[in-house]
Subunit: 205 residues, 4 copies
DNA sequence: GATGAATGAGGATTCATTCAT
DNA sequence: CATGAATGAATCCTCATTCAT
């Protein structure tokens, strides 16, 4: 990699990090290109060298999170279904907590603002989550952890809506309670209740 | 009521109805005072005779819904807890469906935009929903339908987060599925699972 | 006077008093017809029964002051010139103090805002003051208190500009010092210095 | 300086000059961003590249005047007190005449509109004038031109109120007389009368 | 790659005044 | 005389985006 390319990458990184900090601190509404570039110490035009639209940088900021969970789950291919779902739940809410309320709000924004909300790859975060969970459940059927006739679509939507409900309510409460506290308290309890009927004999608990 | 007052009320109504239609059709982001008044056939200033701020009319539009559910529930004071919750669920999701996706998005907006989202009374819709449900559960304890040691706060949050999760996902899906369909399919199933442990012997099902 | 006329006068008075209070408290910029009528307990339209323009009521408020000084001076036709000028000065600055800084600001406004500033009769307050003082000096010449060749116009402008300078600076200082304190301290000192050359022998001091 | 910076400066200058002309011609009340930019041949947004608020350009327009007088006076540190005051008076009223009645009105505006009137540095023009004159008199005491016990504050206020009175009356008369004519006719006469008692023997005239 | 000057669409709000009742 | 609903002109400011250098 040439020196020039390296510097370019550094500038790009600086923009993303700066934007992430501003986003965490002040929220999306207060985020503007001027502030990002000023804080990063570059000219306004430089932003558009790396990002076609302002929203793109928000996508970029959130993208790391996906790889994380995706990677973790792909590394535990042989694990138990309930374990996997637990890891998924746990990572999901940890990410929510880690990224903070303002970035969490961005994830929800696509619910109310389909136009301006950033896409996280080429699909919305929600679609992505649906697909990821559907895959997990389908693989569980292949592995005979889940009964063949388990209503995968329904189960997926129940669980995802549970998670998004928690996210939404967390934002509604303005971050008063701890997301991960509640995960344990009620999400997992329901998780078992929801799945129990569809687990194969051997795996029922 | 004098003729003049009647006309004033009619103008006010016209503004609300016009705004509601625009909101349902184009969403909140496209809603502007100019369009509302132009469509209603009045001058721009007339809007400000009836609403101090643009957001106020959105509050007004949604307010009817509250009274509705509140009234219905208060009329069935002696009903069964599960029945009441069913009515609550049903009305909630019916309202979601009736008002349409763009107004539903407004309800979620307060999660991500606490500043600019309109308050629907003096509290947010979410706070209001929490209070209403807490009251229902507390009364069920008084009526001995629910065990004394039922974790009211936790149960309230489980149910509300369920409902808000459904709303959020509905918006995420851009209104693809029917909210009330899903209510039956999964909300009520979980409702029983969630409540069962805390119902008094006589009422357990 | 019929009962109806009496009531009308009462309404008019109520409007003026209310407006005066609002003007003294909040200043001219905050003065609006809505507030005046609301505070007075009448409808907005009523205002326009009595005043063609919003500014007219401000004229009305200030008009009392003129009659006051005018009357006082006309009652002391035979008095000494210096005495008269003293009374004039004194009343002028007392009025300034009495009416308060916000009304004083209105008197100055006509300097910067010839269009919107209220006229106090059909001429501006400043023109009125010039005329009144010119009359005093001319009468003093008739009475031989002042030399025939005294430059009346110049003297008038010197004195008036002195007074208006004090008013302007008082407003500039946001009312920090006491107008009447300063009157004694420097206006009168100058008054004598200015006039001395033109007083007739008999009256020189 | 790069070509780009030069052009930017030119644009800025164009805006200021255009605004100054509009201000001189039509007064402050008629001054709006739309007109300034349209006349200057740039886009509305360009205005806000150079000035954060509309008022800021008025400050800018008047600022030159300050530096001017300040510089002139600081260059004549060893001059006679009366000479200095004469220069001060002269420049003051020349500036009044030069800038024209509408800009003069802006200087007076801060008397009646403390909130919206533009500040000319970080203090009002009046405060600035007070400070400048106080400094001149204090230095005269150091130089023994003025008696040690001269009432500096009082003298400052007398002179400044004289100047502001002239400004105010000039605006009141709608620019009928020539400011500098009057300066000679009465300000200087009074200036000597006011100062004479406090000049040291050697300097008394 | 980097710059930063220039763009211009876009929208809320105020309030004096009128006039039909 | 009193009412108060209706009017609509008038204007500031933001900010994502472009493009010539």
């Amino acid at each position: 990699m040439s020196k020039r390319q390296e510097n370019a990458l550094k500038t790009r990184r600086k923009l993303i990090d700066t934007a992430e900090n501003l986003l965490k601190t002040n929220g999306f509404n207060a985020l503007c290109v001027e502030d990002i570039t000023k804080s990063a110490g570059v000219a306004k035009g430089t932003f558009y060298v790396y990002f076609k639209h302002k929203e793109d940088i928000v996508s970029e900021i959130c993208r790391g999170y996906f790889k994380q969970i995706e990677n973790k789950l792909s590394e535990m291919t042989d694990a138990d279904l309930i374990e996997k779902l637990s890891v998924y739940f746990d990572n999901f809410m940890r990410a929510v907590e880690l990224y903070g309320i303002n970035i969490c709000r961005e994830w929800i924004r696509s619910a109310i603002d389909p136009k301006t909300a950033p896409d996280y790859t080429d699909i919305s975060k929600w679609q992505y989550d649906i697909i990821m969970l559907t895959n997990i459940l389908n693989k569980a059927i292949e592995n005979k952890e889940l009964k063949k006739d388990a209503p995968v679509e329904l189960l997926t939507h129940i669980i995802i809506s549970q998670l998004y409900g928690m996210m939404t309510c967390w934002c509604m409460s303005d971050g008063v309670f701890e997301p991960t506290d509640w995960t344990e308290k009620f999400s997992k309890i329901q998780l078992k209740a929801i799945m129990n009927n569809y687990l194969t004999q051997r795996k029922q608990r």
